[in-house]
């Protein structure tokens, strides 16, 4: 139940009370809801409502990022990673992805056009996992 309710909260369809229950408040929002902040607002006769809309900058709404750097291996070449992880065409896949990201011209200028050379000269940093900031499960209502 809590999971189902937290999904609309993450999508922005929430009020301050539900955000408070799910611990989605940012530091600023928490500060604004303290007793002292309330007293100050009353003293200054501010017209703004006491329970204002919360800001969206909560950690649940950040993008997914890699985490857990392999400290024993600083950098590894594509050819080594290809052998270690059983990825036969790693160079081609990498070239194709960079081409998709930045276009054929930039890809050629930066990486060169020879994919055999590329696989030796490109060094990557291996990561152990991901940091998910989204819901822990796929949403039952949308999947």
């Amino acid at each position: 139940m809590e999971e189902t309710l937290s999904h609309p909260a993450l999508q922005g369809w929430h009020d301050i009370e539900s955000a408070n229950v799910f611990n989605l408040l940012s530091a600023t929002d928490k500060w604004q809801n303290t007793r002292r902040a309330h007293l100050l607002r009353v003293q200054h006769c501010q017209k703004e409502p006491f329970l204002g809309p919360i800001s969206q900058q909560v950690h649940h709404l950040r993008e997914t990022h890699v985490c857990g750097v392999c400290r024993s291996i600083k950098l590894t070449s594509l050819i080594d990673a290809s052998e270690d992880f059983g990825i036969p065409n790693f160079g081609q896949l990498f070239h194709a992805q960079i081409e998709e990201d930045w276009g054929e011209e930039i890809c050629g200028l930066v990486l060169g056009y020879d994919q055999n050379v590329l696989i030796d000269s490109i060094f990557i940093k291996l990561q152990n996992g991901l940091l998910y900031y989204y819901q822990p499960f796929h949403c039952p209502t949308s999947v």
Partner: protein
């Protein structure tokens, strides 16, 4: 080949037959970062429309000046899956959505396109076939989950 978990990835290509609400489950093999060389900043004008190179400012220790650097790009190498039915339609008999893992096809996807973890249950847990069939377990029994955890 190490396979520990499955992930939902937002699909950006035009093959809409093999997506379910724009998402495809993949099995990640490797997560990695790659920092582009600084010379890539010289070619920013040649970028196709709508494409950008993420940058950040870094303080140089020698000159004590702020310099522009390209940000590290985060990628994942994944094993592809294909929906058994078009558009990820559910099976008419059991109502589950089935996917076939295509171990011969790998892709690199940006980590930003990863939506979250996916729960795939292999049809026959003991079989170790190349193209194994799995169902997408999409029903989370929340009462049980919150009781246990």
């Amino acid at each position: 080949m190490p396979e520990s978990h499955n992930i939902w990835v937002e699909y950006t290509e035009s093959d809409l037959d093999n997506t379910f609400q724009g998402h495809v489950p993949y099995s990640p093999v490797l997560y990695f970062c790659w920092t582009p060389p600084n010379q890539i900043l010289l070619f920013q004008e040649r970028l196709p429309a709508g494409k950008t190179i993420p940058i950040f400012f870094k303080r140089c220790k020698k000159t004590e000046q702020w310099i522009l650097c390209p940000q590290a790009q985060e990628y994942a190498v994944v094993i592809s899956t294909k929906y058994k039915d078009l558009h990820g339609w559910d099976d008419c008999v059991d109502g589950f959505i089935w996917v076939v893992k295509q171990t011969d096809k790998m892709y690199i996807v940006p980590v930003g396109a990863i939506v979250g973890p996916a729960h795939l249950v292999r049809e026959n847990a003991t079989s170790d076939r190349i193209n194994s069939i799995s169902l997408i377990y999409n029903h989370v029994n929340l009462d049980t989950y919150w009781t246990v955890y």
